[in-house]
Amino acid sequence: MLTLHGLTIKRFHDGLLNKEFSAFEITKEFFDYIQDKDKEIGAYLSLHKDEALSEASKVDVAFAEGENLPALAGVPLAIKDNILIEGLPATAASKMLKNYKAAYDATVISKLKSTQAVFLGKTNMDEFAMGSSTENSAFQKTKNPHDLERVPGGSSGGSAAAVAAHMAIAALGTDTGGSIREPASFCGVVGLKPTYGAVSRYGAIAMASSLDQIGPITKTVEDAAILFDIIRGKDDFDATSADHDYGEKLPDPELRDIKKLTIGLPKEYFIGGLAKEVQDGVSHAINSLKSLGLNFKEISLPHTKYALSAYYIIMPAEVSSNLARYDGIRYSRNVNSKTLSEIYFKNKGQGFGEEVRRRIMLGAYVLSSGYYDAYYAKAQKVRRLIKEDFDNVFNEVDVILGPVTPTPAFKIGEKTKDPLSMYLSDIFTIPVNLAGLPAISIPVRTIPHTPKRASPSGFSPDPKPSLPIGFQLIGRPFHEADILGIGQYYERITT
């Protein structure tokens, strides 16, 4: 048995070049492992073994013929099910798109295909990326690989769980209010939400277009840098994508550049309500970074507490508009009716799950006549104040450090009854999306924790079960190099 556990993008590439294994062997090994392991985790909605094995073989043939292999050649990846791969399902975990097959590749997928990456399958998520626990999937629950009674986070919970459970070397997710960083933090893996406009959104099923970004979920910060470097860039098919020259410093940065950076600690991110494990974890990370010689400074982001309200007005407003396209005429028809209006009402009513319906209603409300100024226009003004908070602070510091979530992974079912409590899981990740900044979630260390009963499979593979904690680094727009750089050095001194 080949070992999948130790494989990172870097390690896989080296192993391939040193002929320790072939891409085909590893891909096959992954499918064998997934077949068993995913019964317990439920990370994948669909697997695409034939396509993946055929792509992996092509990499082996190219290598045998003496071609140079790009860094991602043959790397088995998991892709969130709201990102289109031509010919494969893209359900966004909704009944509405149950039978939908993508007609084209998302730009990130075209870029990955051109580097000969291999796609193992499509991963579970909250329906249309709406949720913080992946419990809103219309199809299945995904479990946290560190404790099967707990959620993997969301909405990119399947992608984070797949990487954490070694069922993929890396994955792609999407982040609208924390949907890459929160599950990465809950599952103990790395998640990068790029600057708004750094990565093309073409071919990502839209949720809230002024906030959505695609980004990598990986085992190491170095891998996140490698993957981000491939998927980023201006794209004619996304008018909000920007042309930015990152230079060559994303993977493998210089320590002397990193040491020059000053890190800000916002007092509003270290308030009551923060679980002790999280507080301790983040302090631990700060101490490690101090030992690297980085400077810290206390800062203030005074409008932080209003971000949640602003977000839960702006995002549903965009949702109610973006999801109007699922009218039962195009994409899918679950219910047939005599009249056109009945088709609309019935398909939307039965095709969308509870959280999606709730957000459509909320969005319709805040945009409706008489409430527009009080809610939507007000939220947009507060959004500017939140962005200005960051602009001001970035005159004093280069990077901001804080927690990713107020608590570690919560229990399955714990927050499903009370939407507001679920929304509060995102208080530290949301401001970043409103301001369009890059941010990364990096695992701190494991905190001792004992689950009440053993896993259903009858044994616990980890003798000391523990819940991961993440810390978050936030950078200036298009300064992914700063947060990825600090993260890569953090990794070197802690592992």
Binding site: K101, T240, Y306, K348, G349, S368, Q380
Partner: protein, 117 residues
């Protein structure tokens, strides 16, 4: 005053073309009420001299050349050979892929329910 009434819920569902059950109405009245109540905190924020931030991008007038492009995947030789394809300079795309996305079609036509009945 309740934040939202059942009457408003019904009206919104009508606007959103969303069928909701009576049980949903109850739940929505409660959940939306609670969420809207939370939004009241925004009243504390002084936005008198603040302009709305209307989107995520810093780009202004982001436009591209208005050239025809294949709408789906690769150019198709078969489709390019048709009259419509030739009109596009022989660079037409395989619209079949777009058509295949549609729930129902017949002999190349997209089937929709009758509008007038």
């Amino acid at each position: 005053m309740p934040e939202i009434t059942k009457k408003e819920i019904k009206h919104l569902a009508e606007l959103a073309r969303l069928e909701i059950s009576e049980r949903d109405e109850e739940k929505l009245e409660h959940d939306l009420g609670e969420i809207l109540n939370h939004f009241n905190e925004l009243k504390e924020v002084d936005t008198e001299n603040t302009k709305p931030l209307t989107g995520g991008t810093v780009l202004i007038n982001s436009i591209r050349d208005d050239d025809p492009d294949p709408s789906f995947a690769a150019y198709s030789a078969e489709v390019s050979a048709t009259k419509a394809g030739k009109a596009l300079g022989g660079k037409a795309s395989d619209t079949g892929k777009g058509k295949d996305q549609f729930p129902e079609s017949d002999a190349g036509y997209l089937k929709v329910p009758s509008v007038f009945s």
